[in-house]
C-alpha cells in the first residue's frame, strides 16, 4: 500500500506500462527533463532515455501525426497534450487519421495510441487552460474516451488505455492531480476500462458524473443527507462508449437523474445521456434528466470560474429541481 496522488498515479501507471512493454513510448512538449508542466512524466526520461520519452517540437499535429507513424511501425505511443485548449491543432490527425485508420484498413491496421489531456478548470489559469472538450472526441467514431476520477483509477486506467488496441483519449482532471488515496499495486483493477462505477449507493436520485466532478458529486450527496435525500453517485469513467447498463440500472432504480459535467451544456455529454436515458427508461422516469454543467459560454476569466463550474450548491439545486417533478 502506498499513499499516492492522482498525478503520481498516472506517473506510476506510465512507468509500469513502459517497464512491461518496450514498445511503449511517451511523447509531448516538455515531458523530458521538466517532467511535463504537471510533472506527470517526472523521472521517466531519466530512466527510459530520450528515445522512449520524447520531447517533441512545439507542434501538436506533429505529435499525433508522428505517433500514427510510430504506431504503424509497431510502437504504442502515449502522447501528452499540454493543456486541453491546445489539442486542436492536432484535431485533424486525431479524427481523420487516428480514429479512422482501423476502419479504413478494414481492421488490418491497429492504432494503439493514447492521447493524454489534462482538462477542466478550477486551477485559476488563463484562457485555453481550463476547457472540457470531451464531447468533441466522443462524437468521433473510432476513438474511445475515458477519464479518471481518483488516484487508484488513474493508476490502472492509464495502463488499461495503453494496453487497448483501440485509440484512447485519456482525460485527466487536472485540478484533482493532488487528490490522495491508498493504492495497492498488487490488487488487480476492479473494473475493465469501459465500465462505470457506483461510488455511492442511494435511492432517491442518481448523480451521473466523471473526472473532476466525482468528488464534487460525492460531497453533494453527503450534504444532501441533511435534507433527507439519499443520492446515488455514478462515476462514469468511460464517456465513449458510455457504460449504459450501469447508467440505466441506477436510473431505473431511482427514477431521477442529474448529469453533472464542467463541459458546456449544449451538445455536451449530458445531452447524449439524457437522450439515451429518456429512451430506455421512458416508463421509469419520474422527472426529465436534468443537467448541471458549465454554461454555454467560453470558459471565463479565472476570477469567475467558481461561479462557472458546477459546485456543491449547483448540484444540490439540480437535485432540488429533479425532485420537484
Amino acid at each position: 500500500m502506498t499513499k499516492i496522488t492522482l498525478g503520481k498515479g498516472i506517473n506510476a501507471g506510465l512507468r509500469a506500462a513502459m517497464e512491461a512493454d518496450p514498445k511503449v513510448v511517451v511523447m509531448g512538449e516538455d515531458i523530458g527533463k521538466l517532467g511535463g508542466v504537471f510533472r506527470v512524466t517526472e523521472g521517466l526520461q531519466k530512466d527510459f532515455g530520450e528515445d522512449r520519452v520524447i520531447d517533441t517540437p512545439l507542434a501538436e499535429s506533429g505529435i499525433i501525426g508522428t505517433a500514427v507513424g510510430l504506431a504503424l511501425r509497431g510502437y504504442r505511443p502515449v502522447c501528452e497534450i499540454q493543456f486541453d485548449g491546445f489539442v486542436f491543432p492536432a484535431y485533424d490527425q486525431i479524427i481523420n487519421q487516428v480514429a479512422k485508420m482501423h476502419y479504413r484498413s478494414m481492421g488490418k491496421i491497429k492504432m494503439p495510441v493514447v492521447i493524454r489531456i489534462p482538462y477542466g478548470g478550477g486551477i485559476g489559469a488563463v484562457e485555453h487552460h481550463s476547457e472540457s472538450p470531451e464531447a468533441l472526441f466522443a462524437h468521433v467514431n473510432g476513438l474511445k474516451v475515458v477519464t479518471c476520477g481518483d488516484p487508484v483509477d488513474a493508476y490502472w486506467m492509464i495502463q488499461q488505455a495503453i494496453a487497448s488496441d483501440d485509440p484512447v483519449v485519456f482525460f485527466e482532471p487536472k485540478r484533482r492531480y493532488h487528490e490522495k488515496a491508498e493504492l495497492d499495486e498488487s490488487v488487480p483493477p476492479a473494473l475493465p476500462l469501459h465500465q462505470a462505477k457506483v461510488v455511492r449507493e442511494g435511492a432517491d436520485a442518481t448523480l451521473l458524473c466523471y473526472g473532476p466532478m466525482v468528488k464534487t458529486c460525492v460531497q453533494a450527496a453527503e450534504a444532501a443527507v441533511e435534507d433527507g435525500r439519499n443520492l446515488e453517485v455514478v462515476d462514469l469513467r468511460t464517456i465513449s462508449p458510455f457504460d449504459l447498463p450501469t447508467i440505466f440500472a441506477s436510473v431505473k432504480k431511482t427514477g431521477r437523474a442529474v448529469v453533472v459535467h464542467e463541459a458546456t451544456l449544449s451538445f455536451g455529454p449530458g445531452s447524449e445521456i439524457a437522450a439515451r436515458v429518456s429512451e430506455e427508461c421512458f416508463y421509469h422516469l419520474e422527472a426529465p434528466v436534468l443537467r448541471v454543467t458549465g454554461f454555454d459560454t467560453p470558459y471565463p476569466p479565472s476570477r469567475m470560474e467558481e461561479e462557472y463550474l458546477p459546485d456543491l450548491d449547483r448540484v444540490l439545486d439540480g437535485v432540488d429541481r429533479v425532485m420537484g417533478y
Partner: protein, 390 residues
C-alpha cells in the same frame, strides 16, 4: 539546364518579385537530368545512372504498364464502374524512378495518385480500385508490400512517414552493410499543393530535428486542382528544405533515369542515418486532376501540348530504339502485356463483391463497443425485414 541547384536564397532585403506567370516553362528550369526529352543521355556532375540497358527496359515496361492500367481505370470510371479516378498520366517517370530505387525494407507513404509506386511495390492494381469504386477505403495491409494506405487528407501522410522513420531509427535499423546501405528508409509522396499544409512543414521540422531516415518526394505537377504552383510558393519548392536544415534537390520528373538516381542517393543517405532529403520532381499533370475535374476551365491547351514533348515514356522509347538496339518486338510485347493486364483488371473490377454494411460495423474498433454491437444487430434485423419484399 541539367544542373543540381542547392537553394540560393534571395539576398536580405532585395525585394522579391512575386511571379505572375503560372508555371515556369521547363526550358528555364534547372534540375537534374540524365536523359533528354529527345532520348539522349547526358552527364551530371553529382548524379549518374549506374544500371544497364536491361534496367532501362524494365523501367520502360513499368511505365507503359502503369500508364495502361491508369487508362483502363479512367475508362472504367467513364463507364460508371468507378466513382472516381485520379490519373497519374505524365508522372510515370517520377513514380517508377523513385519506386524502383526502393529496397525491400523501405516503407512508402503515398497520396492518392501513386499507382506507379504501388506497382513497383508489388501491390495488385485491383486493390487500388476498391477506394475509387467505393467498395472499401484501400483495405490492403500496408505490411504486405510496405505500402501504406492512400491518404486523401492532403499532407497528413508526411507526418506518418516521419513517425514511421523515427520508429526505424528506434529499431536500430540504420547503417550497416556496404556504405550503411543495408539500413531502412521511408519515403513520403506528396504534391506541390500539399507543400502548403502545416502538416508537411511540421513533418520537415520533426524529420530535421530527429534526423529521421525519410525522403520527402514531392511531385510538382504544376497544379493543385485548378491552382497553379504560384499559389503555393514563389521560389522553387526544393529550396524549402534548406530553410529547415536539410538538402533539397530538383530533378526532371519526366526523366526516369534521373528520378532513379536522385532517389537512390537520397534513400541511401537516409538508410545510412544521415537524415532527410526533399526531392522535387518537376513534372506535369497531363490529365485532369481527377475524372471529376474539367481542366479546360483553368488552363491552356498549349501548356499541355508543350509538355507532351517532354513525355516520360517517349524519351525512353527513343533512347532504347536509337541507342540500345531495341526493336519493335520488345515494344509490341509490352503493349500486349499491358492489354492483358488491363483486361484482367477490368474483369477483376467487375467481379469485386459489393460490400455489406453490417460487416463494416466491426471495423470501427478492435474491441467493438456494446452500443455498436447493438446498432449492428438492429440494423441487420431491419435490413432483413426487407428480404423477400422485392
Amino acid at each position: 539546364m541539367s544542373e543540381s541547384v542547392p537553394g540560393t536564397p534571395p539576398e536580405v532585403f532585395a525585394p522579391v518579385e512575386v511571379p505572375v506567370s503560372p508555371a515556369q516553362p521547363p526550358e528555364e528550369v534547372e534540375f537534374v537530368q540524365l536523359l533528354t526529352p529527345e532520348g539522349e543521355r547526358v552527364e551530371h556532375p553529382d548524379y549518374s545512372f549506374d544500371l544497364d540497358d536491361e534496367a532501362i527496359k524494365g523501367f520502360y515496361r513499368d511505365m507503359v504498364l502503369v500508364r495502361r492500367i491508369d487508362a483502363e481505370a479512367t475508362a472504367l470510371q467513364r463507364q460508371g464502374e468507378l466513382g472516381l479516378w485520379a490519373s497519374l498520366l505524365g508522372q510515370e517517370a517520377a513514380q517508377i524512378g523513385s519506386g524502383r530505387a526502393l529496397n525491400a525494407k523501405d516503407m512508402v507513404f503515398p497520396t492518392y495518385r501513386e499507382h506507379g509506386v504501388a506497382w513497383c511495390q508489388g501491390v495488385n492494381p485491383l486493390n487500388l480500385l476498391g477506394l475509387f469504386r467505393g467498395v472499401d477505403q484501400g483495405a490492403w495491409d500496408p505490411k504486405d508490400n510496405n505500402f501504406h494506405l492512400y491518404t486523401i487528407v492532403i499532407g497528413a501522410q508526411t507526418l506518418h512517414a516521419t513517425g514511421y522513420a523515427m520508429g526505424q531509427q528506434r529499431d536500430g535499423v540504420l547503417g550497416g552493410g556496404v556504405d550503411g546501405d543495408a539500413g531502412e528508409a521511408t519515403i513520403a509522396y506528396f504534391g506541390d499543393g500539399a507543400s502548403s499544409q502545416g502538416d508537411v512543414n511540421e513533418a520537415f521540422i520533426y524529420a530535421s530535428v530527429f534526423n529521421a531516415p525519410v525522403v520527402f518526394f514531392c511531385q510538382n505537377n504544376q497544379w493543385a486542382i485548378s491552382e497553379p504552383i504560384d499559389r503555393q510558393t514563389r521560389i522553387p519548392l526544393y529550396q524549402r528544405a534548406a530553410g529547415f536544415g536539410f538538402p533539397g534537390v530538383r530533378v526532371d520528373g519526366n526523366d526516369v533515369l534521373a528520378t532513379y538516381a536522385v532517389s537512390q542517393q537520397a534513400l541511401k543517405r537516409a538508410r545510412e542515418g544521415s537524415g532527410p532529403t526533399l526531392i522535387e520532381a518537376y513534372t506535369y499533370r497531363m490529365g485532369a486532376h481527377t475524372t471529376s475535374d474539367d481542366p479546360t476551365k483553368y488552363r491552356l491547351n498549349e501548356d499541355l501540348e508543350h509538355w507532351k514533348l517532354k513525355d516520360p515514356i517517349e524519351r525512353v522509347h527513343a533512347y532504347l530504339s536509337r541507342h540500345a538496339g531495341v526493336d519493335h518486338d520488345f515494344f509490341d510485347e509490352i503493349d500486349a502485356e499491358g492489354d492483358k493486364i488491363a483486361a484482367e483488371l477490368r474483369a477483376g473490377c467487375l467481379a469485386l463483391p459489393d460490400p455489406q454494411l453490417t460487416d463494416f460495423f466491426q471495423h470501427v474498433y478492435v474491441e467493438e463497443t456494446p452500443q455498436l454491437a447493438e446498432q449492428r444487430a438492429q440494423y441487420a434485423a431491419y435490413a432483413a425485414s426487407f428480404d423477400g419484399e422485392g
